[in-house]
Symmetry: C2
Subunit: 156 residues, 2 copies
């Protein structure tokens, strides 16, 4: 194979490298994969981790409340809570004032497990954060939060 063909040298990305959306997608994929590497032995995906955080910080909320906060459909919560319940991390308790809904709580094991995985996630975050200059992370988070607000309305 000659090196003069068109198969091996780097490609021109044109507008792609200047598009926030494209950069977001690629970077988010990196974070997702790195998260999976860091937490796969614990059986927790980024999505499940989000549920754990919200249940930990907001015990007693319903599945729908957690789903709405995370921006997911409530139907997606069923399998997620099923999985977390089978792992003995979360439990559904009958809601006191509304017999249609469950109140979600971390189990005793879930509380200690949560500390473990939150530490793991903090380490994971700090590892990636080290690619930024001091103070840049806060600005990055702030910019992403502002861009996210475009999702709340149709206009810009």
């Amino acid at each position: 194979m000659a090196t003069s063909d068109l198969s091996s040298d780097s490609l021109d990305f044109g507008i792609l490298h200047d598009l926030i959306g494209y950069r977001l997608r690629r970077t988010q994929l990196v974070f997702f994969n790195r998260f999976a590497e860091a937490c796969t032995d614990l059986g927790i995906s980024p999505g499940l981790f989000g549920v754990l955080v919200l249940v930990s910080r907001n015990p007693g909320r319903t599945q729908t409340a957690i789903a709405q906060a995370l921006g997911n459909d409530r139907s997606a919560m069923v399998a997620a809570v099923d999985k977390l319940e089978k792992m003995d991390l979360v439990e559904r308790r009958p809601s006191l004032n509304d017999r249609r809904s469950y109140a979600l709580y971390l189990t005793e094991h879930g509380e200690t497990f949560y500390q473990t995985i939150e530490n793991r996630v903090r380490e994971h975050e700090q590892g990636l954060e080290s690619l930024l200059e001091p103070g840049e992370k806060d600005l990055l988070i702030d910019m992403l939060a502002r861009l996210c607000q475009a999702g709340r309305n149709g206009g810009v």
Copy 2:
């Protein structure tokens, strides 16, 4: 329904709001949905747009070369190129020096179409970019590019 229950007030996101990965996921979802709104009538998803850009800027490359540049598996390119070919935007030409592979080119219609959609995407980008202060976009792109490099090796 009383307002004193635990269903309606905003939730505590704990560590989640400080995690770059979580912010990336939410923001990327907003961009994806906005892109879809802007380009759904043209039948082009963000992924297909990436293929169009790379074929436009690098005519004659193979499917595998495009796939690798975009970080996708070769097998995913088959359906993508099939779709773009049915839309008369891209054509597979037999490769001159390797009868296993195809060389990808924009069709004549693809060239004019590409100008249309690139303009559409530029408008879309500028709309979201307006949520940032002047000069912030370049820094954002730069930070995302640095974070992306964590995907090229296992270390940090």
